[in-house]
Point group: C2
DNA sequence: TTGATTTTGATAGTAACTGTCAATTGACAT
DNA sequence: ATGTCAATTGACAGTTACTATCAAAATCAA
């Protein structure tokens, strides 16, 4: 790796670190791109070249984390069934988040208070979901447009998201892997209520999901 | 209703209509708030008083539609089990979208090309999900923080979203109710792959989900 | 070292949004 | 009808995220 790439990498990293600090101290809206540039010791022009928009700075950590997800799934699914590979990928990404708890909590708190950044995160996750859908489709030998593929991809992202939320709710005390396993068990044991059309026959039906 | 409220209502409506037309014609980014104000025959100041941000203009239709959702669910769930009430609410909101197909397709196409508006939509849906979670929690006599509650709420929104996507994909030809029913059947018949941790025992397990 | 190429920074400009205040309009009692 | 009060509107000035352009500086290849 040449000197150029090395410097670029360090600049990216420094920008994110300094920006997160400022966001945490003064709030997202109150922190200007100019002040971030100053803190990271480069010109606004250069800052914009690294991060075309303010919210991408906050999202950077997420993109770091979730690179793991796709990578682990792709590898693991070569030798194991899809459902297990998804579980592994979920565990992997959650573990990375857990291990950098201070930073993760900071980023989460920023996102909670910054509607634009939060919105961008959702959009990013939707894109991740599409990427995951591609991989799942390959592995299931189904089309990417197959509804089962989309459902599975969305479920995986959902579980990871809920586990991460839960982890944050108890301030990082409990490992999110346990929560994720719990969520998976809920599906396995059918303890989740699925939307379901009313039966058309006159005879009353069993409702194991709801009492 | 006084004259004041009436005028306000008409202004809101006019703004959205004119704005959607302009977005469709020139694109979201290319359409300035000033030009929207001009088209709706009011000053930029007033426009900003009605819609604090540009993306909210696009989202307005969605908020219209999904008021239905919560309302139908709340009513129906009084006399029917939760799973059926969710299905009814999903059908109801999809039917509204289907019935205004031209506008719905326009709004969708705008959102596809406008990252900010799209991102805001996700964020709005997340808020909807929380609202739905409250209702479901009441009905299930569970806490709002219960993971089963969150899963169910998210699943309902997910199914509605996927059905709407599908509807748009075949340009409004097929009713989205059919797609939604299909999605629900997939869950019912377990034709969806759920993430699932590998069994810890040495004995190989059955894998009905994956072959 | 030299020459080509890439990265940086200075500058100017656009448009989304905010805040303030005076003018206007609708509501309402007399 | 008319005067009074409250709410709505619009004009104006300012901030900031973001874009485009181009010359200066740093890096790479020889």
């Amino acid at each position: 790796m040449g000197l150029r790439e090395k410097k670029a990498q360090r600049s990216r990293d420094r920008i994110v670190t300094e920006a997160l600090t400022l966001f945490g101290k003064n709030g997202y809206e109150q922190t200007t791109m100019e002040s971030i540039a100053e803190a990271a010791e480069l010109s606004p022009s250069t800052l914009y070249r690294y991060f075309p928009s303010k919210d991408l700075i906050v999202l950077q950590r997420f993109t770091d984390y979730s690179e793991q997800f796709a990578r682990v799934f792709a590898e693991y699914s070569l030798r194991h069934p899809v459902d297990e590979a998804l579980a592994e990928a979920i565990f992997a990404v959650l573990e990375v988040e857990d291990s950098r708890s201070a930073e993760t909590l900071l980023v989460r708190s920023i996102i909670d208070e910054a509607p634009i950044a939060r919105a961008r995160l959702w959009d990013y996750l939707a894109e991740q979901q599409r990427q995951l859908g591609k991989l799942i489709a390959q592995r299931m030998r189904a089309k990417e447009s197959d509804l089962r593929v989309k459902l599975t991809a969305q479920l995986a992202i959902m579980i990871a998201g809920l586990a991460a939320d839960q982890w944050r709710a108890d301030a990082g005390k409990r490992p999110s892997r346990a929560t994720a396993e719990n969520l998976m068990r809920l599906f396995q044991d059918r303890e989740v209520i699925f939307p379901r059309p009313a039966a058309k026959s006159a005879r009353p039906r069993q409702t194991p999901n709801n009492r």
